[in-house]
Amino acid sequence: MKNSYTGIALEGLWHNNPGLVQLLGLCPLLAVSATVINGLGLGLATTLTLVVSNITVSLIRNWVRPEVRIPVFVLVIASIVTGIELAMNAYFHELYNILGIFIPLIVTNCAIIGRAEAFASKNTVDRAFIDGLAMGLGFTLVLVLLGATRELLGSGTLLSQAHLMFGEAARNMTLTVIDDYRGFLLAILPPGAFIGLGMLLAIKNIIDKQLTKRAATINIPTDTLPTSA
């Protein structure tokens, strides 16, 4: 199960989520999750980096000597991030300005080197691709969820400045969820990121606990279930 495509995808999205379980890449996760759009932008950039770096590392895995693998992986990741940084500067210039230092810092995101070392350097290209995609989307999911919570509590809106990501047509996508909201500034400030991430971790643990409990209660009477169903 763990080695099937679905298994790999589930690992990245839920069971081994980089943001909620491995707790990797916390620096960008905490720093840029003040709004949904910032989180989405950085999440997608990280996902793209992960996919390309996983594929590349998997392709070269048989030619890289183990003694020098880490510097080689870092060089590969750095080249990819440089490419993505230049592309974002060209096509999403305003978003690029907001995310600032955190785009080049994707190089140092432990989740990326972690997947290169732990998965891509030991697996075939197709599985490395699925793993990179799932891990990246899992990271994006946490960024967007945290961004949505903080934006909602902090300024009462969702998807503000959507035009940075989706072009001028999306300027009206901003949802004002709570009218005439005073703004709970703490949610947007750094403490809000830490408290918010802690709450997300707690919620994930509650869900996992419920799932194990349900699985346990279902498994006991399996032999009594009607076979035709």
Partner: protein, 346 residues
């Protein structure tokens, strides 16, 4: 003459959590009454809201954590937290402000860390700092003390203001609010006024702001009673106020034009309330004798630094929280030598 002699062991009477908390509440009463006298019904209304929210929040958290509800509700610790927080809030603070502050104190700063006895930070001050950085406008709308106010709000008018934010017709916020002494001192010094010029304003009493200095005295009375009953140890309040007084005196003597009297620092803002009631929190403060002196003196020093060169007019809450962080280290390095053992570092 007959003396009752008791056989050993001679044990001191056990002090329960509820007993200690009740004595803290008694000691807070004079200062609280003084605040109600100077700032009107708002203080009392806020107190009722704060205590109600505290009891409800505490009950919910205890239920969620599967702890005995009646036992922990009757130890009054949630009431003391809410009471201290409310005393630091402006008298016309809207009800939702109090609710958010008290709920944050109890849910995040207290119960998520493990409940009473496990919280590394003073819950009341954590809640206060959250409110101060999140809602700067509401948190700085202080009323003028009664001798300076043009009009005083009645009970019902205050109730309306707290719950709806509406003042009675004909009264504007400007007519009833005023800068706190620390705030006004800060602004005026920023405008390059000398202390003598600033003190010509009718806002000033003998050493602090009118009204404010007396509230400080009533809290001092309660604090001394706590010292007498040995609920708190003298080391933290004495070292905190001494440190504040010494550094304020040194700077005052070096340049009396730009530094207020040392007594002004002691009798303004939260210095006395902080020294006797907040810094002495038995859970989050240092517990070794010498550690308490370091802890208290550092708070006094930080209060002065934040007031004089920092971004906020008063710094008691920030100073207490910063030193709470240092408490594990302080306690570790000041562990008293037990008899027969070598002292630390030998």
């Amino acid at each position: 003459m007959h003396f009752n002699t008791l056989t050993s062991p001679h044990l001191a009477p056990t002090s329960s959590v509820a007993g200690v908390m009740r004595q803290v509440i008694y000691a807070l009463v004079p200062g609280t009454v003084a605040m109600i006298w100077y700032f009107g019904w708002g203080v009392l209304i806020n107190l009722v809201i704060g205590v109600t929210v505290a009891l409800v929040t505490e009950a919910i958290m205890l239920y969620l954590r599967k702890r005995p509800i009646a036992l922990f509700l009757s130890d009054f610790s949630a009431v003391v937290t809410a009471w201290l927080l409310v005393l630091a809030l402006p008298p016309l603070a809207p009800w939702w402000l109090i609710t958010i502050g008290v709920a944050f104190s109890l849910v995040i700063a207290k119960h998520l860390y493990g409940g009473l006895g496990y919280n590394p930070f003073n819950p009341a001050m954590a809640g206060y700092v959250v409110l101060l950085i999140s809602f700067p406008v509401e948190m700085t709308t202080w009323l003028a003390p009664r001798m300076l106010a043009e009009t005083q709000l009645g009970f019902l008018e205050t109730l309306t203001a707290v719950f709806t934010g509406q003042l009675p017709a004909g009264i504007s916020w400007d007519a009833i609010t005023a800068a706190t002494p620390l705030d006004s001192m800060r602004t005026q010094l920023g405008l390059n006024q000398t202390i003598d010029e600033i003190r010509t304003s009718p806002l000033w009493g003998d050493f602090g702001g009118k009204g404010w200095e007396w509230i400080g005295n009533w809290f001092l009375l309660g604090g001394l009673w706590l010292l007498y009953k040995r609920v708190i140890n003298w080391r933290i309040p004495v070292s905190m106020l001494t440190a504040l007084f010494i550094i304020a005196s040194v700077l005052y003597l070096s340049d009396p034009d730009t530094h207020p009297l040392p007594a002004f620092h002691i009798f303004s803002g939260g210095a006395i309330l902080g020294a006797f009631f907040i810094a002495t929190d038995p859970v989050s403060a240092s517990t070794t004798p010498f550690g308490r002196i370091i802890y208290g003196a550092s708070i006094g020093l930080l209060v002065f630094i934040i007031r004089t060169w920092g971004g906020y007019p008063d710094g008691v809450a920030f100073a207490v929280l910063l030193m709470n962080m240092a408490v594990p280290a302080i306690d570790h390095f000041t562990k008293p030598r037990s008899f027969g053992h070598k002292s630390y570092g030998d």
